[in-house]
Amino acid sequence: MIERMTVHNLYIFDRNGSCLHYSEWNRKKQAGISKEEEFKLMYGMLFSIRSFISKMSPLDMKDGFLAFQTSRYKLHYYETPTGIKLVLNTDLGVPNCRDTLQQIYSTLYVEYIVRNPLCVLGESLQSDLFSSKLDSFIRALPFFSVRAA
């Protein structure tokens, strides 16, 4: 069986929990709830997990929550000092994605959203330029390959 790696979807949240952006590339199963509920669920989970690990960690915290995995997919997490949270779901073959998420933040979010005077911070991201640059970036990742239907 050929090992294929892929990216399923990406969420970007701001520090207040609003979902700024969501894109999917390879999602085979939907959550069965509305998008709004899904975003709330995702943010709630992140909030709980972060609080959990900071309490229960047997050692001093370094980077905090990085990722979790199931038998089918892996969820990668990155939080910036300004409270922007990026969540990337990929399949299991993908190693640590922290640098990728950090790159998405610095080369895409900061460049095309923060430096765009018409993007209001805190509202969902409307810039087509950002969406298309993000799409090309994800598709160019070494671990992205679209699964045959």
Binding site: N116, L118, Q126, S127, L129
Partner: protein
């Protein structure tokens, strides 16, 4: 990989002005937002921004040309504007200069620095003129201090490319 200190030294200059410009535009529009007439409000805002650019352009051109010899003619002035003036402010030159040799010049910038982060096509097109007003003033101010009175307008149809039209006023 450049060391962090040199990256921030390169970046800091551009971004400071960009963010300040964004805020100036937002501030001017907020100040005038109470009026009911949208068109009148836009005209007032654009001319406020243009006047700011005018004064800045006048000052900048004094500084940039203090060691230069006098210019031969109008075309020479426009070429200076397109090359040295533009690259000192926006880190690149004007891509195309056209003229009818009768006082009208069109300066085309295919990747105008204040528009590149907005969009690469048609999105946000109606808002783009707000971010060009200050730069029109820059050009008009620069020319004015070199002895040329002009009328400068800008048009944009596909971002981030835009054209500045300069009509020199003959007395």
């Amino acid at each position: 990989m450049k060391p962090l200190s040199s990256i921030t030294a390169d970046m800091a200059d551009d971004v400071l002005f960009e963010f300040l410009h964004m805020e100036i535009v937002a501030h001017v529009y907020k100040e005038h937002a109470t009026r009911e007439d949208i068109d009148k409000e836009r005209v007032t805002c654009v001319s406020t921004l243009e006047l700011m650019g005018f004064r800045v352009g006048q000052g900048l051109i004094e500084r940039f040309t203090k060691d230069c010899p006098t210019f031969k003619d109008d075309l020479d002035v426009m070429k200076f504007l397109c090359k040295d003036f533009w690259s000192t402010i926006f880190r690149k030159q004007i891509d195309n200069l056209r003229t009818n040799h009768q006082g009208t010049y069109v300066l085309q910038d295919n990747k105008f620095a204040l528009l590149t982060q907005l969009s690469s096509g048609k999105q946000y097109l109606e808002e783009a003129p707000k971010y060009l007003a200050f730069s029109c003033g820059l050009i008009r101010g620069a020319l004015s201090n070199l002895g040329l009175e002009s009328v400068v307008t800008a048009e944009v149809s596909l971002m981030p490319s835009c054209k500045f039209q300069v009509v020199i006023q003959k007395l």
